[in-house]
Amino acid sequence: METIERNREALKGGEFLIRESEASDIFTPEEFSEEQRMMADSSRTFVDREVHPHADRMDALEEGFMESLLDKAGELGMLGVSVPEEYGGLGMNFNTSMLLADVIGAGGSFCTAFGAQTGIGTLPILYYGTEEQKQKYLPKLATGEYKASYCLTEPDAGSDANSGKTKAVLSADGKTYHITGQKMWITNAGFADIFIVFARIEDDKNLTAFIVEKGFGNITMNEEEKKMGIKGSSTRQVFFNETPVPVENMLAGRGEGFKIAVNILNIGRLKLGAGVIGGCKYVISQAAQYANERKQFGQSIGNFGAIKYKLAQMSARTYAIESACYRAGEDVDNKVKDLKAKGMEDAEAKLKGIEQFAIEAAILKVHGSEVLDYVVDEGVQIYGGMGFSADAPMERAYRDARISRIYEGTNEINRMLLVGMLLRRSIKGELDIFEHAKAVGEELMGVPSFETPDDSEFFAKEKAVLKNMKKAVLMTLGKAALTFKENINDEQEILMAIADMIIETYVAESTILRTEKLVGVRGEEACRGQIEMSRLYLNYAVEILATKGREAISSFATSDEMRVMLMGLKRFTKIDPINMRDTRREIANITLAKSEYAFDI
């Protein structure tokens, strides 16, 4: 697909709420180049050939198996995609690494090991390392010769990651830190050569990060954790007992560890969003095939409306998160490009680019993990009793999916974070959320506009709905912020509800714009399924806004305010009904005809 040049100033992180975007402003996955697609194909083939057929060996934690998978992935260059060429990698852009995360997401436990290696294991060095540290570690991490893990969480420091008790004590000669402490839930621990360890120096407010080699000694481990899912990924407690670490292995400065942790998590969240796509498509494909083959009452179960409903919903939600992921991924890349053009150094530009889209990162993490959970749940259901059987693929997919809502910051933490960040940026004057919220308030007091959108334009009605969705969010968020001021963080129920409104707005807008762009290239006829999915998704998202808006507003508004706001909410979540049954049937029929997820890029 031709890339259409963007012609306007790029959106800032979070700005989607107060600015309209056009289809030409966003990147759609259909625009990936032949080269990027070939990389994705290779990774897909790798998962199909090397991972899926051996899932039982992997999940039994067969000695050496996961390492051998990482080695093979390293030989294929999959571990070094984001590593610059001068350190032995491929230096591809951020969205390419999203695409790989997407495809590898179908690989269950492998996906977690891969993510820990290439993400939280490698990136702290890439973004914060000194030149010597980069030279020393990155080439070997990019090939898989070194396996990496990331040690932040502790028994008493999970969501509250900065509260860890692990200590780093400087030796009298000033040459060595001795690290002592207990880390928990450490992915890849069983075979890691490199540990990125977060520890506190003296009584510092913030943690400091270190690159610790296994060979430094005094590192011991507990047995493998017995987990619900991703059983094949190594997860252990790691004990550092006066582990000597040369001072030159400190990452960035003293006390900068927490900042590193937060920024690396932002990347992990974006990637997790992308990482669910491959898993969703895999499950939908299996489910579609099963629905075609399984016969009850003399016909394929795929003929039943109840099954079609599920297949349609699974596809539409997957298509939606995919639209949002690659939009955000490209936004990051564009920001990085801009910053570099202004003279910023590569690593710093990448970090700043990602930080700019931390709100979107939290959105993708939460939404992606919940779409995946929905898809695997319905996948099990379509398989019926076989869905419950460990001999069919759904049982594993169901268990493996569950972790995504927990790690990379729980979905609760991410929901609160994303609202918090929006408010903070508004207070700092980076985003004028409050101004826009005020305008919505004034609009509410005025006479409602009876302007009808210009029907001749494609998706004109849908875009009018999107505009209103943003108003619903701004109204609710603005009023809540005014009401609670600095105490808003104590109002978690309200924050969570507003977070959902924001998430659905971003995802629905991304979906509509993607399809509009696609239709512009391929024409309506070729995009029937995508059009139906976008409409279906928009309807679904608006429903969520209505429900969550009511939940939030009713929790804090005084009775007069409430009346006005609920009326406003009703106005802003108005949408022309579509025939949901027929829409879903059409989407499902396309999926069933292909016997797989039918809207692949």
């Binding site: 080269e35 070939m38 290779s42 790798f46 294929l76 999959m78 995609v81 491929l90």
Partner: protein
């Protein structure tokens, strides 16, 4: 050593075949290197490393086959040639390959036992004939020592071991090598490798396709219990009309 590997551009083996306007409907279809050609290519790339060979990939096709050709480059071919023409039939394709090979003195011309679209399995024989070489099909293992190749192939009830002096043509199949996954660096380099487009020669067209049709849909399986032979016989007579 110079190796020519012939690459067909075929629908992915999981594609649903449809026809429209008396031609294959390629809408929404993805294309791959013919699976048997992929084996040939994999072995050629191994020989490249072990025998310091150079590998050229050749395809007869219009420009839409270039992604497939670049995949061959990503897997390890050093350069590629596309003969710019619809591959009308085996004779046409063989003529093009022979035309190129005539002036290039390849030591080995490898291709799949057959392409998975028409499954003709004729190109290797024709190319060999046109170049006055041997054709060995199916070639299931291939080792080269000096100027002599040793190959094996399965035959009825056993295995045949053949030796043949270079140059020759071989139609390959598994287990000659394992399919190679293009690695990321190979993919990035593929763009920079030469892909030469040459004009086709125009041999006499020997075959004309009149029409295509799909095999009749398989009807449902009907079960009979063992104590109901009469119904089975009746169904075979009246419905299936086979007895």
């Amino acid at each position: 050593m110079k190796i020519l590997v012939c690459i067909s551009h075929v629908p992915d083996t999981t594609s649903k075949i449809k026809f429209s306007d008396n031609a294959l409907d390629t809408n929404g279809m993805s294309f791959v290197i013919g699976p048997y050609d992929d084996y040939a290519l994999a072995r050629a790339v191994e020989l490249k490393e072990s025998h310091k060979a150079t590998v050229t990939a050749i395809n007869v096709g219009k420009s839409d086959t270039e992604p497939t050709i670049r995949k061959a480059l990503a897997i390890g071919a050093d350069d590629a040639i596309r003969v710019d023409a619809e591959p009308i039939d085996a004779f046409f394709v063989a003529t093009q390959i022979a035309e190129i090979a005539k002036s290039e003195n390849y030591d080995l011309i490898l291709m799949g036992r057959e392409a998975s679209d028409y499954n003709g399995g004729q190109v290797h024989g024709m190319v060999a004939e046109m170049l006055d070489m041997q054709a060995i099909v199916p070639c299931m293992t291939l080792d080269i020592d000096g100027n002599t190749a040793t190959m094996t192939r399965e035959i009825e009830g056993g295995k045949e071991i053949i030796t043949c002096d270079l140059p020759f043509v071989a139609g390959c199949q598994e287990p000659i090598a394992e399919w190679k996954i293009p690695n990321m660096r190979g993919i990035m380099m593929a763009r920079k490798k030469p892909l030469k487009v040459v004009e086709a020669v125009q041999p006499e067209v020997l075959i004309e396709t009149k029409s295509y049709e799909l095999p009749p849909a398989r009807s449902n399986c009907k079960m009979f219990t063992s104590d109901d032979m009469a119904s089975l016989v009746r169904a075979l007579k009246e419905e299936a009309k086979v007895i």
